[in-house]
């Protein structure tokens, strides 16, 4: 899982049936310093996140299918929580 910022919303009418009714958001990994890194990804929102929110993102197929309660659907990347804060005392 990783911490990311929600950048934009994605509207797509024509899409795979499993995504019907799901909110799709563009997210990108962000460091505590605020610096972005990695690729911009589209995640399925399951945490009522909004643009600008700092979120916890799961990027794994089997786990995503567990959340959806399905076996062989193409879901892989899901926003599973809103991050209040991250403490990095170990650094």
């Amino acid at each position: 899982m990783f911490v990311a910022k929600v950048l934009k919303t994605v509207v797509a009418d024509e899409k795979h049936p499993i995504l019907k009714g799901e909110k799709l958001l563009l997210v990108r990994r962000v460091k505590e310093s605020g610096t972005f890194y990695g690729k911009t990804t589209i995640a399925i929102d399951r945490a009522q996140a909004g643009v600008g929110d700092k979120v916890l993102v799961l990027q794994e197929g089997s786990s995503s299918r567990l959340i959806f309660g399905v076996e062989s659907e193409p879901v892989h990347c899901i926003i599973v929580g809103i991050v209040d804060h991250v403490d990095m005392e170990g650094r």
């Binding site: 950048l7 919303t9 589209i42 995640a43 197929g61 193409p74």
Partner: protein, 89 residues
Amino acid sequence: MYLAKVIGTVVASQKSAALTGIKLLVVQPLDEEKRDMGEPLVAVDTAQAGPMDTVFYVTGREASMALEDAKKLSPVDAAIIGIVDQIGD
């Protein structure tokens, strides 16, 4: 899932039997500002996408699951599963 734009089509008459009848498109991944992000790749089309369309695709095992007979697990590693109407406001 990643955002991308369709930039081409691949025609391959001679190929693995498991890939017959599927449409192969060249897609260029994009970031949130629609700038190019990484290198283009070839993806199976399951959304009737065409050149210049902005789409999103999945990779890995999920690509195989996106095809109609998901249990069959076809040998693909990227599949377009939607056409984007709008990004942001």
